[in-house]
Symmetry: none
Subunit: 208 residues, 4 copies
DNA sequence: CATGAATGAGGGTTCATTCAT
DNA sequence: AATGAATGAACCCTCATTCAT
């Protein structure tokens, strides 16, 4: 690993996800990353700034993808919903460590700076999704729904799977230790479920 | 407050939800609860045992309610779904502090004992819900769906609202500080959304 | 055990010997003795007073035995030495727990009251032994020796065996856990050694 | 004092001897050594590891000296015994603090690691002494004796003097506070006594 | 630029003791 | 006479951070 800064970020992500922000000591991070303890303060200023750096490091990609999907004229609204589900499921499941950190720290815990950062990021992304759904409504594919809460359902469903991994392993009889099997089984089933859910929920023919 | 043990539990719930388990010191709890520092170890044995006690303290009611709802012969499956949504939305939103703690600690962080406890509790509750949906399917009200993930969507949606309270306050233009207004606005909208979502998702007439 | 006070004393002896005075908590004692925690303070005043009570409880017998041995006109000086060795070896080995406590607490640690108590007790006993040796010298059985240090050698030898029990188990290939075997093997060998040692040391015919 | 690590060790030795291991707090040590409290954990890892470090710090010298004495061809067995006595009396009396710690912690108290460490050290040293005595027996200077217990008598005698310093001060009318006077008086008398004792005990002409 | 040494603050826990009953 | 509840003090240890080199 050439870049020590990146190495620290990735190690921090791993440990924050595993033991929480408060539960992870900078000593842990330094040791696992194989760098000097003082280097973390030296590079990032503080433990909290390290978390901020991690969030920014991971946030860029999502927005670009959503914006592109939104602009794509070749896809009809249903295709876009499918793509959206595929994208988010893949993203959250494979980045589940980072996603858990975000889930946990968007709440009351963590500093206002962190909360602000996460909120801003999420708002920006949601704006793109809103446009996709509104476009579908304008084109008479989708019925009138609560857009914000619909997104909440999508995100919430995926979050449940990463946050309550333990529980779902018990529930679905999956070996807790085999990360790869868990992902494969869950990804397919999750995509299927969400597409089925959204298809029924959004379809204008199901208008009450 | 007559019962100091309960006072400690409630204070701990408040603080754990606000600052996380690791972020809360027993000194904090003792001070806010107005009790002696040593009393917490005296009553609960350790900080971790305190969390376990809190989980057990809050877990009893849910199962009883679900079981009762399940057994009720006077309600048709759609009524039961509505009641289920009402119950969970009320419960999670008004106990959002406790619920956030659970969300955060069912993950990798926290001890195996705690994780086990939460998993067991959730499995027990889910079993009741499964019966309700299966009953609706047998009676030809509901179509075939992924029951476990459907519940994940319901729970996940509500969780999002409590976990990302900050974000949704920004999104819905609600004053962050006024807890009462937040609850009222969100509860109504959330119930409506979830019922609409489940009605479309479960209805046998929407069979693909 | 009818007498709770005695029960506490014996339990304290056991635990003090095993884990030291500071290493033993009154909770330990209360629990092992099956009495209420507060009862110890109630009966003895404090943890330290409990140690004093223990010392006094164990000190009476020795002096009486020595005095009697000293006065016995039917025994010649060599017989008295043998009896002395037998008595001390038996006493210390079988009361090794109490003896270790004394050894450890006659030093700088522990309060002046305790130290005073132990010193007084030891001086009183030594006085009797001095008379025995001086009598043997007057009767021309024993040569001139350093009486105080000779007693130090006897006591010290026995103390070594109890204090360094671990070491001597390794050295003599004795199973550490079998208390009974240890005592039997050691008692015989110790008596033989000490009698041989003192016979050579005291015999007037070995006068330099 | 240039080396803070050594300073901590010496201070710990002082305090452990004075108040026992359990009776000494790391705060005490830090304060007396004039170092930060956290530095002790920083350097040694824990309070117990500090004791281990102390034992190892003090153990090296003894073995080397004994081995050298053993190998010395220019001395006859009686000379070697005299040197042995001189060496041990000097060593224990002047390092009495360390020696008391060892005495106290070779017993049941203290962790298996510590006990193991002490036992190993003592066994190693005793092996050298055994050779000296066996050599004297082979050369027909010494009679047959219980070698292990003979060493127990030597060590035990010296230990008594350090462990029961208080008692012997009373006994010998020595001012308790004047360390220097105590040592001088005791060292001379102790050497004389032990040499006299061993001469009688070992001399082949005193064979029973 | 990078780091070993060092530190003040605070962590959870256990202590011996007290006191109202 | 006996005890459950409660407490202030002190325990050892680890924390994130700083700073001289």
């Amino acid at each position: 690993m050439a870049d020590k800064k990146t190495e620290i970020l990735l190690t921090a992500e791993e440990l924050f996800a595993e033991k929480g922000f408060d539960g992870t000591s900078v000593r842990d991070i330094a040791q696992h990353a194989g760098v000097n303890l003082a280097m973390i303060s030296y590079y990032f200023g503080s433990k909290e700034k390290l978390l901020e750096a991690l969030i920014e490091y991971r946030s860029g990609y999502t927005f670009d993808t959503l914006e592109e999907l939104n602009k794509d004229q070749s896809l009809n609204p249903w295709d876009k919903i499918d793509r959206l589900v595929d994208f988010y499921v893949e993203k959250i499941i494979s980045n589940n460590k980072f996603h858990n950190i975000i889930s946990v720290h968007s709440g009351q815990l963590s500093s206002p700076e962190i909360r602000e950062l996460i909120t801003k990021m999420k708002l920006r992304n949601l704006e793109q999704i809103r446009k996709i759904i509104q476009d579908g409504q304008k084109k008479k594919f989708f019925r009138k729904v609560d857009i914000e809460f619909t997104m909440g359902s999508v995100m919430g469903t995926i979050s449940q799977l990463t946050l309550l991994k333990n529980f779902y392993c018990s529930l679905l009889n999956i070996d807790k230790t085999d990360e790869e099997v868990y992902r494969k089984k869950v990804i397919v089933r999750l995509k299927t479920h969400l597409k089925q859910l959204l298809r029924a929920h959004l379809d204008i023919r199901n208008e009450a």
